[in-house]
Amino acid sequence: MKLIFERSTPGHCSDYLPKSDVEKAPRPEKFLRKAKWMLPEVAEVEAARHYKELADQTFGVVSGFYPLGSCTMKYNPRLNERVASFPGFTNIHPLQPKDTVKGCQAVIDLADEMLCAVTGMDKITIQPAAGAHGEFLGLLLMKAYFDHHGQTQRTKMLVPDAAHGTNPASAVMVGFDVVNIPSNANGCVDVEALKNALGDDTAGLMLTNPNTLGLFDPQILEITSLVHEAGGLCYYDGANLNAIMGQVRPGDMGFDVIHLNLHKTFSTPHGGGGPGSGAVGCKDILKPYLPSSFLGKDERPEHSVGQVRSFYGNFGVVVRALTYMLTLGAEGMREASQTAVLNANYLMHLLKDVFPVAYDHICMHEFVLTLADIKKETGISALDVAKGLLDFGMHPPTMYFPLIVPEALMLEPTETESRQSLIDAAEKYKLVKEKIYSAPDELRNAPLTTYIGRPDEVKAARNPILRYEE
């Protein structure tokens, strides 16, 4: 389809702003814009049709089954969108006098209280804008803690090999050296390897539990106490919290600091990549290091790390998450996580005989298939299968992650799918499986029914075209 620039015609525009009602002030000639530049010139109807067409070429949770592992693509309740658009939330300046923003403060305080109850933490900050941003802040708190306690030799951050890629990347941004901890045969932390890695130089361990294989590590209490005994701190990557919301709290498992992805567990929409919210929770020992807004004049904790962005965070996302938490309540949260785990196990059960499961064990909110043997046998890869699923109107699973599983497909159905939709999805997986043997070329060329065929990614990277030019 056309780019908005290709729909442009000189002179097309709309009048959004009034004529000036004040005198024209002298212009700073030296600084005025003189170099040539362009923006589209379109009438509003042309823009409206353009974006309608773009929306039609976008697959969202409302479009169909979206079992993208580790992303928790649950239904995004419409109420949350309505509430977030109340003018009393949208038209508020962040630097208004404190007594004129009591409602915003109430939202933040109540979200803090409820998220602390869910995570077993003592304090929440909503400043980080996304999960990775939360990891960055959480690790900064740890660094500040060790600096303040004169333990600057603690530079090693232990990260399991199954971890999300953001974990090691965040650790580096905080100056830690990453030490990879291998998984054992069961897909959980190799405790012996962990013991060997622990020492006076350990800053801490970053762990997601359930892990990215969808397995809850039963050794968790031993793991966190080993880290504590070595003088380190435990970081909980909350990306997978949807499995355990209301069932078990990271605080009780021995974690000191945690980030949450409000855009996963707490149902706020992903928006094609954001905005999310990476709220960070911590135990009392890390409270003195929390961030604050400089201009917002929030009370700055004594040894604050500063701030990781402007103002208070993605407030509008927190409004949505709070609405969700109020609606669900304690029982609803437990029901959501139980159903998410039930749905994952049910789908795994349905698919077990179609594609091999990487770790055949009760899973949590997600599970991982491996097509390594199929690839060896037929040459058809996980990518081919994923692309084949597109022709059945479904969003494929996460591909090639976690890295420790070859030819991985990772499925997370979430609680907002019915039994029937899981059965229907499994049927389509079976049809794709059959194609591996009956029509392998069709899979190699898949998808056939989408707006575009497979894009040439190598060409895109080798010869980058990153903007439109006339």
Binding site: L39, R82, K102, G273, F311, T323, N343
Partner: protein, 439 residues
């Protein structure tokens, strides 16, 4: 049915039985019994949608809405065309994930490609990423892009927004990088001493255009001096001002960053907004975050994909240029729609109206005894005045007539005017301030 689960408890019981399980506890056998909860304490019972809406509305109504906002300092009350809301409210855009599956995500990918192009045009740069969190984190990420082994000192102009300065310092603390503040003189950077102020290890200088006090910096002269020292120049810009002022790219900046909030995103108590980042060709591979590129598909047509992913955390892990994963895509979409429908003409109008109205207010305020401009250089739509009385007094008096005053700062008040302020509101401001001062 409870919450948003599309199955009854009977159906779920059936599913458990099909799995050979008795109840939910069987799903959680790996959780140590000592920490497994039977109930979640500290969280109230769930409520209906109607009750939840009422509860949230009550909180929204505890906030004060100002018909006129004369406060900026990072968040600006610009007019938002209604179509921006319509487009950004389309469910497909709202509920999609990061476009990993290009074949069913062309809409999102193309909208980002268009956004990247418009950001490049606005800033005079060659390449933009798909967005980062906000203007402050964009400035911090931009600073980190410039680090090299022998160039590891980041300079920041002391007249930048304090929120941005704090954020750069925090990112630098993480990487054990030294941050030096560059002192301004009479509100702006003193170009004559700039070269001497930078050390040989200077990686970059971050300046804000217009700066925190609303003053216009001489970017071209600054760029020359910074480049003479072998360092990079990062300019944090107010996008609306670029409807009138020369782009940082045309003036020699290496990286342009900023907060896209003025481009169709409501103030929203400071977030979500969108951070933009753009750079020249030479530094494209140092850009953090998602980037969309154009390619062809198997049928020979044009297609868009996430590209240059070898920079990113999910491929490179600890060797990535940044840890960023989620960005602010839906806000970037808003900015894209805003720029598309406003066009150069609309954006220039917003800039010129803001400029003229700010100068009108400044002139009228300075007629009041005891109020004068703190700095005399050219400014865009923010300016700082002295006050003959306590700032709180002015704030309170304007509050009573539905006007959010300028921001109280050391030495006076930092005012901001956008196209939304009418002459009538500005006259009322002057009249009210005059009254408060003479009391």
């Amino acid at each position: 049915m409870a919450g948003y689960i599309p199955s009854t408890s009977d159906e779920r019981q059936l599913m458990l039985e099909e799995l050979g399980m008795k109840d939910y506890k069987d799903l959680y056998v790996d959780v140590p019994a000592s920490v497994l909860l039977d109930e979640l304490p500290g969280v109230a019972k769930g409520i209906s949608e109607m009750e939840a809406e009422t509860a949230m509305r009550a909180m929204a109504e505890m906030n004060v809405l100002y018909p006129t906002v004369l406060r900026g300092a990072g968040i600006y009350d610009h007019y938002i065309p209604s179509i921006v809301d319509t487009v950004a409210g389309k469910e497909e855009f709202v509920t999609a994930y990061t476009p990993y599956q290009a074949e069913i995500s062309q809409g999102v990918l193309q909208s980002i490609f268009e956004y990247q192009t418009m950001i490049c045009e606005l800033t005079g740069m060659d390449a933009s990423n798909a967005s980062v969190y906000d203007g402050a984190s964009a400035a911090a990420e931009g600073s980190m892009m410039c680090l090299k082994r022998n160039r590891n000192v980041v300079y920041v102009a002391d007249n930048a927004n304090p929120e941005t300065i704090e954020t750069i310092k925090t990112y630098a603390y993480g990487r054990d990088v030294k941050v030096e503040m560059l002192s301004s003189k009479k509100g702006v950077i003193d170009v004559n001493v700039l070269e001497d102020a930078l050390c040989d290890e200077a990686a970059c200088l971050f300046v804000q255009q217009p700066n925190f006090y609303g003053l216009i910096e001489d970017i071209e002269a600054i760029a020359d001096k910074v480049h003479n020292k072998g360092a990079k120049l990062i300019v944090g810009c107010y996008p609306t001002a670029l409807g009138m002022l020369e782009s940082p790219g045309a003036l020699g900046a290496d990286i342009a960053t900023g907060d896209g909030q003025p481009l169709g995103i409501p103030m929203g108590y400071g977030g979500p907004t969108v951070g933009f980042m753009a750079t020249k060709k030479a530094m494209v591979r140092q850009l953090p975050g998602r980037i969309v590129g154009q390619t062809t598909d198997s049928r020979g047509g044009r297609a868009f994909v996430l590209t240059l992913q070898a920079r990113e955390q999910h491929i490179r892990r600890e060797k990535a240029s940044s840890n960023i994963c989620s960005n602010q895509a839906l806000c970037a979409l808003r900015a894209g729609v805003y720029m598309a429908v406003m066009g150069k003409k609309g954006l220039s109008e917003a800039a010129e109206l803001s400029y003229d109205k700010a100068h009108y207010l400044a002139k009228r305020l300075c007629e009041i005894p005891g109020i004068k401009m703190v700095y005399d250089g050219p400014y865009f739509n923010e300016f700082m005045t002295t006050l003959p009385v306590d700032a709180a007094q002015i704030e309170k008096a304007l509050h009573k007539v539905g006007i959010l005053s300028g921001l109280p700062v050391d030495g006076g008040m930092l005012w901001c005017v956008t196209e939304k302020a009418t002459k009538e509101a500005l006259d009322l401001t002057v009249q009210t301030v005059r009254g408060a001062v003479s009391k």
